[in-house]
């Protein structure tokens, strides 16, 4: 039988946390540093606004070091490397078969030694601009930005993670460096290694690096959100129209942990519009949606929202259906004991499935660290959820005041 997952944790004096999970029969070692800093963190304490896309720009440019690029070093030691920026996090990773400790040193060098010059920042601007242009041709991506700008008007989350061609011009080596020092602090990051490595050796290597903070830890800036917009639409040169229905959940109305909240909202949405719901079938059979239809629940930092989207030939009917069917009364009828049991079994299965992937484990462990949640205890969270919890959370979520929409209409029709 495959051994159960075991996790070993070390917290260093500077606040940096290391977590190691053994995967005995796997060939690879997956290493990841995650920073609690993403595209939304553009507002400073003094009211100054950083240019959109600065977190993503740092992610690109940290790979540059004096006289070398970190990806070359990883390549030398046999590792693949990558990095990504989300709304609230930035992550740097490697995947290797050999030399895990040398690759760990390279990963730590990557995140701890910025080298931003006028020249290398200028050359990166062109590459990122191409990335932005690529996303602008993707209707799903455009629609996500549009629905977020309805849910959170004028908030940084409604801007493209990579910024805009204009905001890129405001990014320079100076604001990159000051932003880096503000957020890349040991208490604001964590390291996860999945695979056959020794935690003592890992700790010894981490201690070789000067991860001391130079700046004070940034305060959590809670800017009040503007009211949700009424919704909107635009046209695009696409073959099929697409619609999004958004639900914003303001977190000051609940004391639940974000992780618990995310599981519960997912279960509510699965009951109402998941593939095993009556309404999914009704929507499909009436030609309002096709199988691109999906929903996504996000609960990160001070944001919590649901986006339900899909290709639709009937955008108005899509919106009307969501508005009239996402109600607590309908949920109460749909959420039978049998349905609740099915949804729970499905969630337990998903948890087991994810353990086939070192990548999935590492990313979840690193992300959950920022929410004081142990990955290995997720099963207890799922197990502890009751029907009552779902009905309670539904009162918070399924409120028409939380709803908005956006249609991206095909110019061809």
């Amino acid at each position: 039988m495959v051994a159960k997952l075991e996790k070993v944790t070390r917290k260093l004096k500077n606040g940096f946390e290391i977590q190691v999970i053994q995967m005995p029969n796997f060939n690879q070692i997956y290493g990841l540093v995650m920073v609690n800093f993403g595209s939304v963190n553009t507002l400073l304490e003094d009211g100054e606004q950083l240019p959109a896309g600065i977190a993503h720009f740092i992610e690109h440019k940290l790979f540059a070091k004096p006289g070398y690029d970190v990806s070359e070093k990883f390549a030398e030691y046999g590792a693949n490397t990558n990095a990504y920026t989300s709304y609230t996090k930035t992550a740097y990773l490697f995947q290797t078969i050999e030399n895990p400790y040398d690759n760990l040193r390279i990963l730590l060098d990557l995140v701890s030694n910025p080298y931003f010059t006028k020249k290398n920042v200028n050359s990166e601007r062109g590459i990122i601009d191409q990335e932005i242009q690529m996303y602008l041709d993707m209707p799903e991506w455009v629609l996500e930005q549009k629905i977020l700008s309805q849910l959170y008007p004028n908030d940084p989350i409604s801007a493209d993670i990579a910024g805009t061609s204009e905001s890129l011009k405001e990014i320079n080596n100076e604001n990159l460096l000051s932003t880096y020092y503000r957020y890349y602090q040991p208490k604001n990051m964590n390291l996860v290694l999945v695979g056959n490595v020794d935690i003592d050796k890992v700790e010894e290597i981490v201690n070789e690096f000067d991860l001391e903070a130079t700046d004070p830890m940034p305060n959590k800036i809670m800017r009040p959100f503007e009211p949700i917009s009424d919704g909107g639409q635009n046209t695009m040169e696409i073959s099929q129209s697409r619609s999004s229905f958004g639900i914003r959940v303001d977190l000051d109305k609940t004391s639940k942990s974000l992780v618990e909240l995310q599981f519960e909202i997912n279960m509510v949405m699965e009951t109402l519009v998941g593939e095993s719901s009556d309404y999914y079938e009704e929507l499909t059979n009436s030609g309002i949606i096709d199988d691109s239809f999906s929903y996504n629940v996000v609960a990160e930092n001070n944001y919590c929202f649901v986006i339900i989207s899909g290709t639709t030939p009937k955008p108005d009917e899509f919106r009307e259906f969501m508005s009239s069917h996402l109600t607590t009364e309908i949920l109460k009828n749909a959420l039978t004991a049998t349905k609740f049991q099915q949804i729970k079994l499905d969630a337990i299965g998903s948890y087991v499935f994810a353990q086939n992937s070192p990548e999935s484990i590492a990313n979840q462990v690193a992300e959950l660290y920022f929410y004081d949640t142990d990955y290995l205890k997720l099963i207890d969270i799922i197990d502890g959820i009751t029907i009552n919890d779902l009905n309670e959370v539904a009162e918070l979520v399924l409120n028409p005041d939380n709803y908005t929409y956006y249609h991206l209409l095909s110019e061809k029709k």
């Binding site: 693949n80 993707m138 299965g349």
Partner: protein
Amino acid sequence: MRKEIAKNVVLNIIPMQKFRTIKVQIDFLRPLLKDENAQRRLLANVLSNSTKKYPTFKKLNDREMELYGTEINVYTRGLINYNDLAISAEFADPQFLIGGDNLIKENLELLSEIILNLNIENNLFEKTAFDTEKSNLISNLLSIDDNQDLVSSLALNRLIYKNNVNKQLPIFGTVEQVENITNQGLLDYYKKVISEDTVVINVVGDVDEQEIINIFEDGKLAEFFQKERPTLDLKFDNFDELKETPAIQKEHKKLNQSRIAEAFTTEKISEDISFLAPQIMNLILGGDDQSQLFQEVREKNSLAYSVSSSYQPISRLVTIHAGLDANSLNKTVELISDQIDYIKNGNVSADQIEHAKKVMSTRRLIGSDSIQHYINRSIWDIIYPQSLLDDEKFRVELEKVDVAQVAEVASSMKVIAQYQLIGD
């Protein structure tokens, strides 16, 4: 363990204590014919929509959830000159669950339901299931036009297979083909598939071999899978005509980013050259972030965010894809050509060769951390075993590759197709 249940029906069981799931995949193989592609894809979708016992999409999904979220997947893909229709069930290993003791048996029963116990009414597929899946597929096909990477890749495919009518159309068919499929026609096609196709069954995970054999020899599936099927005939492509006159196409569209897609043939120069030399050449050309294309086109000249190459060992084709600004198209085409010349002229360093070898070994080992790896390998082992190398042969062939071999492969490259999608 491999067992031939009947002629051209193979059961392959790979017991291993590595994964936390068990996967059962049944692949149906028959010659790839342009007129069948759409039917085959629609059939896969209709089968996975509902069954006699679970007669609606919801009821089938309810059952999947009850089985701790079994994932039923269907797809069709081209394998050399075959069309592969695959239906799989992946589910949590019961050893990690409380109360999942019968999960293997129950999942195999579910798979058997999907393949054999069809949702039939009045001698046709149940109308809602058929109509819904038909309209879903049409909608998906229309959406392709909004995915520019796919548009560019399908256009290149059309050019590469200009002289092969069966391969120039997408493997999932066209809107027009799907529109013309009738319920009766699809059911008739199903009967052909189930009785004539070569069948490859793979079971991977912590399973008892005898238990699985018993299920496939005595269960509902046995009746069908104990019938022998005709032997398939492998046919390889020939690009000689395109080597003389490459297929070139330019299209304009209202887009922010333009695309270039190019295809090149490579030749098997001599028996002395390593089997892996073309893969190593490809890695150096555009296979990762240390490659010539990535470094020269993206990093040094900031011309493209995405630029890469890939190599298909069976057809010996190298393809290159780049996404870039319309103003940079000509410069990028030149730079691509310069990188091929760089390799051709023997300028590749020993470090580049070593790096590419390391990447190949690493990818092979990381690939084997996925349950699907074992299924894919088993299918290739049945349809074209020459394409697989065991670990020792892989090591020897990799060792053999040097700068001269890589240069020879690059020298043999001939452009056969080029597609440009120009954003206006």
